[in-house]
């Protein structure tokens, strides 16, 4: 039953990573960061890579969602998980069908990594952008790992490594409050998680600051490798290009996202090939009313923590959720500022291209906070203020 849940979760990662990379990240590289906004989208991708490739993108995203529907009944808002298990299993025929679909996803993930290599890594201007200090940060990194310190999305210890890649902390779900705290600023409803034992020192990086990243690149930085062979080979190739571990070039998060896509597909195939996944034992009935529980998984954009306290009837009395992108609130703020400071230079006209390159720093982590919170307007208003040495605003550019 745990294998069935992890199988479902791999499918979730696949559809999410495909959508994030192709619809949200790839336009900046495939079409270009300076391209007309009207073309810097999925339609521009289709123009550049062609209809057959674009069709494969949508086909595999749909495959992943079909697998989710097959397992849980719905792709979005599944109502399938229960305390102690799930409400339905899969048949042997469905298991075999998922195996074939997983194989197709593996091939598609390999194709995606090849596309990234051809379009980004072999384009010197883009490679320079990825390796530049415009998109660089020197924080701690947090990710979930298995008993061999390899990336695991579903279950494991939560490992923190420092700026030199050394493990500094490791915690289990119920211990998270000993390691993670949340700083509040009056200008935002969104809190700033940080490493409690290091402390909050403001929006700064470095070993004295408790700021950490929790996105795909951070996950790979926090691990010693990937648990599946093809993804492991891509992991090694990535770090060789980036100059070792941990990688601090944050645009490489999109590359890490594709390595994770490959892992998710391989893991999905592994799980589907195991006949146990078509189990009829679907639930361990709870034997008592819990008073407190903590559950942590890796969400596509960062570690996801849910903490609940209940009354004697099992009704929730307190809840704390630290969701994927929230972990990265401090890094996002710092990344945008750093990008703006490096891109906007005296004498240079601030155009849409520059604004987009600032926004790219955000898009590493999430399309936008509206997307992370599923609220309107669903796009990112952007304001860039240029100040002189007296702190006076001398120039203001905005969008939306």
């Amino acid at each position: 039953m745990k294998k069935l849940r992890e199988l479902f979760y791999c499918a979730h990662f696949i559809h999410s990573h495909i959508a994030h990379f192709y619809a949200l990240a790839a336009p900046d590289f495939v079409v270009g960061p300076d391209a007309d906004p009207a073309k810097r989208n999925i339609l521009g991708i289709v123009e550049k890579v062609g209809v057959p490739v674009a069709s494969e993108v949508l086909k595999h995203r749909a495959i992943a969602q079909d697998i989710q529907i097959m397992i849980s009944g719905r792709s979005t808002h599944p109502v399938w998980t229960l305390p102690g298990g799930v409400s339905k299993g899969i048949t042997e025929d469905q298991r075999k069908e998922i195996v074939e679909k997983a194989k197709s996803c593996v091939e598609f993930a390999r194709f995606s990594l090849k596309l990234f290599e051809d379009v980004v890594l072999k384009n010197q201007a883009y490679l320079d952008l990825v390796l530049s200090d415009t998109y660089e940060m020197d924080t701690y990194y947090l990710g979930t790992v298995d008993e061999n310190n390899r990336v695991n999305f579903y279950h494991g210890d939560h490992r923190v490594v420092d700026q030199k890649g050394r493990e500094v902390f490791r915690y289990k779900d119920h211990q998270y409050l000993e390691y993670i705290a949340e700083h509040v600023e009056t200008y935002s409803y969104l809190k700033f998680p940080f490493l409690k034992k290091i402390g909050w020192k403001g929006l700064v990086d470095g070993p004295e600051s408790g700021v950490y990243q929790a996105a795909p690149l951070a996950r790979l930085n926090a691990a010693d490798g990937m648990a599946t062979p093809l993804a492991q080979a891509e992991y090694e190739k990535m770090y060789e290009t980036l100059g070792g571990k941990p990688a601090k070039k944050t645009l490489a998060t999109h590359w890490a996202r594709l390595v994770e896509l490959l892992y998710a597909a391989e893991r999905m195939q592994e799980l589907a090939e195991d006949p146990e996944v078509a189990t009829t034992h679907l639930r361990n009935l709870p034997t008592a009313v819990p008073e407190e529980g903590v559950g942590i998984v890796e969400a596509p954009r960062g570690i996801l923590t849910h903490h609940y306290r209940t009354d004697k009837n099992g009704l929730v009395t307190e809840a704390n959720l630290i969701v994927g992108t929230t972990n990265n609130h401090a890094p996002i703020s710092m990344a945008i500022k750093r990008a703006a400071q490096r891109i906007i230079q005296p004498g240079k006209e601030i155009g849409q291209g520059m604004l987009n390159m600032v926004e790219m720093a955000f898009r590493i982590y999430d399309p936008c906070f509206s997307c992370a919170t599923h609220s309107l307007p669903g796009e990112m208003p952007l304001v860039v203020e240029v100040k002189n040495s007296d702190g006076e605003v001398i120039r203001r550019e905005s969008r939306a």
């Binding site: 949200l24 339609l43 289709v46």
Partner: protein
């Protein structure tokens, strides 16, 4: 003309599910023979790419969804132009795959996208609270939207 009526929403977030409640009412009201011959009704929570797949293959699509415009009273029903970027959350899209992009993408990929798309938005009063019932204004708006859709289906 084959019409596909798609109710969009999340039925555990009160008025956010008004589109789905509307199409359930339509399913009950449209005579079965007409439903089988001319129209099909789909309930869905999807957006973006998945909506493109849902719309392809139909001659006409009618979308019903909750909206949250700044200047409308709860329960107000508006017919929105598919190109109007104010649309609903699902149609405006959280990830820049909005309805106009979805339609253009579908056509570019060679899918048969509908010749006609009608979008009915029902202004929500509360689309954030957990609950399976509509607020009274949204329920009134739903009833009005149902009549509008029935009128459009049977007048053509």
């Amino acid at each position: 003309m084959r019409t596909r009526i798609i109710g969009l929403g999340n039925t555990i977030l009160r008025d956010d599910g008004v589109g789905i409640h509307a199409v359930r009412e339509l399913r009950a009201r449209i005579p079965k023979p007409r439903l089988e011959g001319e129209a099909e009704i789909i309930e869905s929570e999807v957006a973006g790419f998945a909506l493109m797949e849902l719309m392809s293959g139909a001659d006409r699509v009618i979308l019903v969804d909750a909206i949250q415009f700044h200047d409308l009273q709860p329960g107000t029903v508006v017919q929105i132009d598919p190109g109007d970027l104010r649309t609903s959350l699902r149609l405006r899209s959280v990830h820049e795959i909005d309805l106009p992009t979805v339609l253009a993408l579908g056509r570019r990929l060679g899918l048969t996208m509908p010749d006609e798309i009608l979008v009915f938005g029902i202004q929500a009063e509360d689309a954030l609270s957990f609950g399976e019932t509509l607020t009274p204004p949204a329920a009134r708006g739903m009833a009005e939207a149902v009549e509008l859709v029935l009128h459009r289906i049977f007048e053509t």
